[in-house]
Every structure is written in C-alpha cells, then in structure tokens.
Symmetry: C2
Subunit: 345 residues, 2 copies
C-alpha cells in the first residue's frame, strides 16, 4: 500500500529532481514512480524545452513492464501532466498508454496545456491533486506569472565586475568575465528562443548573438535576434545576417514583449546593455537573473543596473534559486549567481 | 624512514591545514608531525593572533611522549618556526623542549621573529628548509609584503548590493546585508587590532565600531577605533568613548599607516565608506577583501568603490582566497567572498 507519507516523500524527491532542469519556455517539473508498496522505483525530470517531459523521462527510466504490473504503480508529479502536443507529445496520453494505475500531481496546470487530469480519469486512471502544493507552486512561481501575464519567460543576464561595472570609462569591456563564464552564457543562449540587446550594445560591442560551444561551433538551436531602440544599424553589424533577426524601434519593453509573442518566442534572454536590462528589471519583468561576476574592481565606468530608486525600501529583492542545481557556482575565477525575484506574499 | 614523498605529502597537508586559520597580525601556518616511518601522527594550525602557533598546536595534539620517541619524530611546517616571544612563546624553543628530532620548513622567516632554524640547530635538532616553497610563499604573499613594507596587514570590508551600491540616493543603507553577514563582520572586528572609517561614515552611520556577538555581547578583544578625515566629530558620536579611539586629520592613507604603526596595530580593518576603502585599494594597500553581497538591486546611490581608472587593463584584479576555508560562503540570503590581490609575478 502507498501511504500518505510515501506520497509526501515522493513529492519532496520529485521537487528536488525537478531542479536538475532549466526553467524557460517550460517550467521545472519532476516525477517519481512508486511500486505497490510505496518504494521509489524511478524518477524523472524535464531538462528544458525540446526535451522529454518529466513524466516521460520517468517512464523511460522504468523500462518495459507488463500491463498487470503497470496498473499497480503510482506516479507522483510536481505539475499536472500536460494534455497538449507541443515540441513533445502529451504526457497524459503517455502515462495512460504505459498503463500506470494512479497519478498524484501537486499543482494544477491552468495554461494552454491544461486538462491532463481530466484526460487521465477518462482513461480510467485514479488521479488526484495533492493537498499541500506550496513548494511545488514556489518552484515555478515566476513561470506561472509569465503565463498569467501572457508573455515570454524572461531571463536577464548581467556580466559585471565585483563593483558592478560593465565597462571602463573608455568603453573597454573585453573581457571582464572569464572564458568559463562566457561559455556558460553561450549555454544560456542555446536554451532560449530569442535574445534582446539595445542598439548601443549592438553598435559598440558588435555581438554575433549566436550560441556557440566552447570550441566555437554553433549549437544546434540558435536564438532569434532582437535589437531594441531607434538608432540606425549599419548592415555591417555581425548580428545582421539571415532572416532570424529584427530591430524593434521602441524604448517600451511592453512593445518588445508584444512582438516576442507575435514571433512565438516563449523564452527571452535580455543581454543588455544596462539601459535595456534596467528597463525590464524596473518593470518587474525579469523572471530570473544570471549574474556573472568577475573578481576585479574597475572603479569607474557604467553600472550594470540603473533604476529610479530613491530609498532602500524600493530596492528589487531576489534570492538564490536553490530549486535549481546551479544557484551559486564558480566559473574559472568568476562566480555565477542564479537568482529569482522573491515570491509574492 | 621518512622519504621525500612523505615530506611532500606532509607539506601539502600542512598547507591545507593552515587554511583553517585567519591571516592578520600573523600569517597562516600549518604543521605536521610524522613518525619514524613517515606516517602522519598529528597536524596543527595557527587560528590567528593570540592563539597558539601551528607548531605548538601540533605538539599539543600529539600528547605526552618519551624523549626517546620524540627524537624519532619529524615536524614539517609551512614557515620557519618563530624565535621570538610575542603574545605566545617562541616555537623554536617549544619544539626543542619537546625533543623533536628533525624539522623541515618551507619558507624562511625574515621578519622580527626570524632565527628559529639557527636556534633549533644550536639545540642539536636536524633542521632543513624544503626546496620548493612556492605554494607556501603564495599562502601568505600579501602578509609577507605587508611586513616588507613595515605596515599593518590590511583588510578591506565591502558590504553592498548586487549592483555594488552601499546606500540609496537618500542615504538609507540599514540594512542592505543580512543579519548573518553583519554577525560575520563582527567576527572580523573581533580579530583585528584597529578599525578605520572616514568622517562621513562616522557622522552619517554613527557606528559603535565595537565587536559584538550575535546576542549583542562584546567580544573579549575590542579594536582600537580610528577615524580618518578633517570634519569635526561631535562628542555625541557612539564611537567616541573611552581612550581607545582617535581621529587622524588627513586624507593620506600613508599617514594613517604611520599612526597605526606608532600605535602597534598589526592588523587594520577598513570599514569604509567608499572614499576611504577606495583610497586603500587604489594605493594597493588592501591585502584582502571581505565582500558581503546582498541579493538586491538598488539601482542608484553610492558605489562601493570609485577609482581613477580609464581603461579595463587598469582594473585591480583579485582571486578567491582558496587557502582559506571560507573563500565563498552563503550568509543567510547573502554571499560572502574572501578575496586577495593576485600574487605578483
């Protein structure tokens, strides 16, 4: 028999396992499969958009089993199994096809992928929502907010010195951060749907905005390139190539979001400069921060973030995203912080 | 028989053990004791000024032994045993009195405490300097520099937001960092001989500059309080009490150091504000940095460090002090970085 204590332990494990993935177009999700005595026999997690969902990952790790055995198994998942076909097939159908007998989930899905629980019941599977889903909701609190606000999940990258400068007064900035940090940031680029920079960054740094491996090869998935602002961009810029880029002539972050939605970009990476990053932070549109920090003091030059704050209580507060397995890391001589805004009360 | 490989392994262990202490008035030192077959039988380290030196710590951990046994033992220590009586007795004499047969040390002591090797030899103890002492020298490279420059070892504390602000535009700064960070900084205060602030910090923040435990009690050792600058200090300031404080009417860091030397302050903590901290950093007088960083973006207000840099190559470069066992720590929601300037080539 699977006891309530077994279910609680399985949810805790599923939440921890979820942190092995990356939030973005999709939320973090973890799943556990228990046998008829409540023993954990498989775990699964969702690595990120384009990869198998947690439920399918757990089923795969389980291997093949008879339908009689499958019927005795219980799946515990941090989020209601999806009911839609996106880059992967619907999980609810995969669970039913595998013949799993019972499903518990922690958080209801109220996005376009909802309806999984109803589908499972229609296939004769005992399906319940677990009562206390606070931790499971917190796991993806900003992702749910982004869905509610009908906009992409937004990652802001900061790459700065210990004194939060992004360049010296003469504009030199290559390189403040370590090679390992820059490689890590290319990994970020390879997971998002779009990258945004301001016109000043495009003109001064002339970035390619491609996602490259550490030996300079292109990742298989490349982000759409967006430049925000009114200044004219010469066609010689490295980011101007092919059809997968455009300039959005605005200073309004909401216009950028509207265009990203039209383009179907579910995960947007804000690469700077300071003005663009600050605009998203000020509008409470930064769902997570990756802050790469190099151990040097420049002592002058541009600050990474500028906000119209007057007193300390107006500061924007974050916390290390401890659900993720890389909330604080050393990257060569640098450190990297993965932060999320504090959950709303 | 003790082999060369045994000695190398013992030095590596001694270097690692040394990192359990704190640099300051005294350097980091570690010691190992090997038996006649080269087996490690005791380690010791120096916690910091006022505590037993590494050699004495190792001898204590060894317990009592016959003079016949002692004669078969080998001590390996990262620094030449001291030969002077400071807050503790000379180590060379303690080693000789314990009857240890052989001593190897990695770095010669050329400070006021030198002469230990000669003393040991005069007592009939086989005493050698190990050949490759690069790691042992690097362990305390800034401490040796401070001794060479005949000045205190200088610690600079930075307490800042993620965007390196130390206050908001209206001057509010209490509290940017976490309670755990502030308690940690009080531990720092309890280990130094003197604390320095500028007149602006004294007037605006009105700090007590005492070293307190987390329940508000005074640590047994309290730092001498120094205020640097010309502005007049009203006698109502909290730091103005008793005889263990003074104002140094200068903006010249070298005058502060001269006065600290006259006062016999071997370890000085620079607590700010930005102008004072920046002056010591700019003069390459920061032997270590403790950077407390809170996960918030203020977006305006004073930067923690301001230097007359014009281009990136002039930046002051540091590295996490990995010899120390707390080079990167989480303190509540904050992170703490313990950094040292890169060793000179």
């Amino acid at each position: 028999m699977v006891t309530l204590r077994d279910l609680e332990a399985a949810l805790a494990t599923a939440l921890e396992t979820a942190g092995r993935g990356h939030r973005g177009a999709n939320p973090l999700v973890g799943a556990c499969i228990l046998d008829q005595d409540g023993n954990l026999i498989a775990t699964g997690y969702h690595l990120g958009a384009g990869h198998p969902h947690a439920e399918v990952d757990a089923l795969r790790r389980l291997g093949t089993l008879s339908s009689a055995t499958a019927r005795t198994l219980t799946m515990v998942v941090t989020l209601e199994p999806c009911n839609h076909t996106g880059r992967t097939g619907p999980c609810a159908k995969a669970i039913a096809d595998a013949g799993i007998g019972t499903v518990y989930y922690a958080v209801s899905d109220n996005t376009a992928a909802s309806g999984g629980a109803e589908y499972l019941r229609s296939r004769g599977i005992t399906t319940h929502r677990l009562d206390d889903d606070a931790a499971a909701r917190t796991l993806n609190h900003r992702w749910f907010l982004s869905k509610k606000q009908q906009r992409p999940f937004i990652t802001v990258k900061l790459a700065q010195s210990l004194d939060a400068r992004i360049n010296a007064p003469d504009g030199t900035s290559q390189w403040i951060t370590s090679e390992q940090s820059r490689n890590h940031a290319h990994g970020l680029r390879s997971r998002v749907d779009g990258i945004l920079v301001g016109t000043t960054t495009a003109l001064v740094d002339n970035p390619r905005l491609s996602a490259r491996t550490k030996d300079g090869q292109l990742h298989s998935k490349q982000p759409y390139r967006l430049v925000m602002g009114h200044r004219e961009l010469p066609s010689t810029l490295d980011l101007i190539r092919g059809d997968d880029w455009e300039q959005i002539k605005t200073h309004d972050v909401h216009e950028v979001i509207q265009r990203a939605n039209e383009l179907g970009l579910a995960h947007l990476l804000i690469e700077g400069g300071a003005t663009v990053a600050s605009a998203f932070i000020e509008a409470d549109l930064a769902d997570e921060l990756y802050c790469y920090q190099a151990p040097l003091l420049i002592g002058a030059g541009s600050s990474s973030v500028n906000l119209p704050t007057t007193t300390l209580s107006q500061a924007h507060r974050y916390r290390l995203d401890t659900a993720s397995n890389e909330s604080l890391a050393r990257l060569g001589e640098d450190i990297m912080l993965h932060l999320e805004p504090l959950p709303r009360a």
